[in-house]
Symmetry: C2
Subunit: 179 residues, 2 copies
C-alpha cells in the first residue's frame, strides 16, 4: 500500500491524491485501506512502530558491560541495516514529506518518539534520568543528520557510513568545548 | 495576549477555550487577536522568531577564532538569559503543550527551525555541510533535554545550569564511544 501511495504522491502530489486512488493503484478497496490506516498521511508512516521496536530491542540486547554509546550504536546499526535496502523508497518518501508541512510535523513526532524510546532503553541500562534524556535526544539528532544526508539525491554513501561520519563530527564538536 | 491565553488554557483547557474568550481576558477584541495570530494555537508560540534571531545573532557574533562549541554555548547563554526570568510562564506553557498532540507537533516544528538556524549560523562560521548539520541537530537536542528538565515542576536549578549539566552528559556519552 505504501508503494502505491508513494507512486501517486510523487506523480500527482500528496494533496491531489485521494484514498480511493491509492487503494485502486494497490489493487484494493478503500475499505481495506481504512482497515490499516486512518488517513492518507499515515500510510507514509507505516512501519514506524516496527523501527522503534527494532531500535529498543537492539539497545536493550547489548551486554550490560557495554557503554551507552555502544548501545546506541547497536540501535543505529539495526536501523541502518533495515533501511539501506529500501533507499530509493526512503528518498522518494523524503521528497514528498519535505513538500508538505503537515507531513514534516508527523515525521518530527515520529523522531521524538524515537528519542523517547532511546531514552527509556538507556534508562533501563542504568543511566540517570538526565543522562538518558540527553543521550536519547542526541542519538536521534545524530541519526537524523545522517538520514537527511542519505536521502539527499546526489549522495552515494551508505546510511551506516554516514552515521559513522556523523559520530566523528559529534566527537569533533564535543572536543571543541572550551576547557 | 499570551498571558491571557495561558491562564485560560490552564484553567479550562486549550480545546475548551475560544479566541473570543482569550481576547476578552486580555481586554481586547477578537479582531485585534487575529491581527497578531492566525489561531489560538499560535498565541502559544509568540516570540518564536525572536528566540531564533537571538540564537543566530549570538552564534554569529562570537569571534571567528572561537570553536564551534563556543559558538553554540553563546547561543545557549543568550536563550537561557532570556528564558530564565519567565520560568513560571514557560512551565505553565509546557504543561499545556504536553496535553495536546497538535501543540506538541508545533513545538517540534519550532525546535526543527532552531536546528536549521544553528546549522546555518555554523555553516556561516566555516563548518562543512555535514558537520554543521550534526552540530545544529545536536545543539538543539542538548538544549531541549535541559529545557524539559527545567520545565519539570519539582526542579529548582536554573536553565543555564541544566544546560551546562547536559553538556557534561554529552561529553560523557561521547567519551563512552568504543575505540
Amino acid at each position: 500500500m505504501q508503494e502505491a501511495a508513494l507512486e501517486l504522491y510523487a506523480e500527482q502530489g500528496f494533496a491531489e491524491t485521494s484514498v480511493a486512488e491509492v487503494a485502486e493503484r494497490a489493487g484494493l478497496t478503500e475499505r481495506t485501506f481504512f482497515r490499516y490506516f486512518p488517513d492518507k498521511r499515515e500510510v507514509l508512516f507505516d512501519g514506524e512502530g516496527h523501527f522503534r521496536e527494532l531500535l529498543v530491542g537492539a539497545v536493550s540486547e547489548v551486554p550490560a558491560s557495554a557503554t551507552p554509546m555502544e548501545a546506541i550504536k547497536a540501535g543505529f546499526d539495526a536501523l541502518a541495516a533495515e533501511l539501506q535496502p529500501i533507499r530509493d523508497r526512503a528518498r522518494k518518501r523524503s521528497r514528498i514529506i519535505a513538500a508538505y508541512p503537515e507531513l514534516q510535523e508527523r515525521e518530527l513526532v515520529k523522531l521524538a518518539s524515537w528519542s523517547a524510546a532511546f531514552e527509556d532503553a538507556l534508562r533501563g541500562r542504568g543511566l540517570t534520568e538526565s543522562a538518558a534524556k540527553v543521550a536519547g535526544e542526541v542519538a536521534v539528532a545524530v541519526f537524523h543528520a545522517a538520514f537527511q544526508l542519505w536521502t539527499d539525491d546526489g549522495r552515494k554513501k551508505d546510511l551506516a557510513e554516514l552515521v559513522s561520519e556523523a559520530l566523528v563530527d559529534l566527537r569533533a564538536l564535543v572536543e571543541s568545548t572550551p576547557a
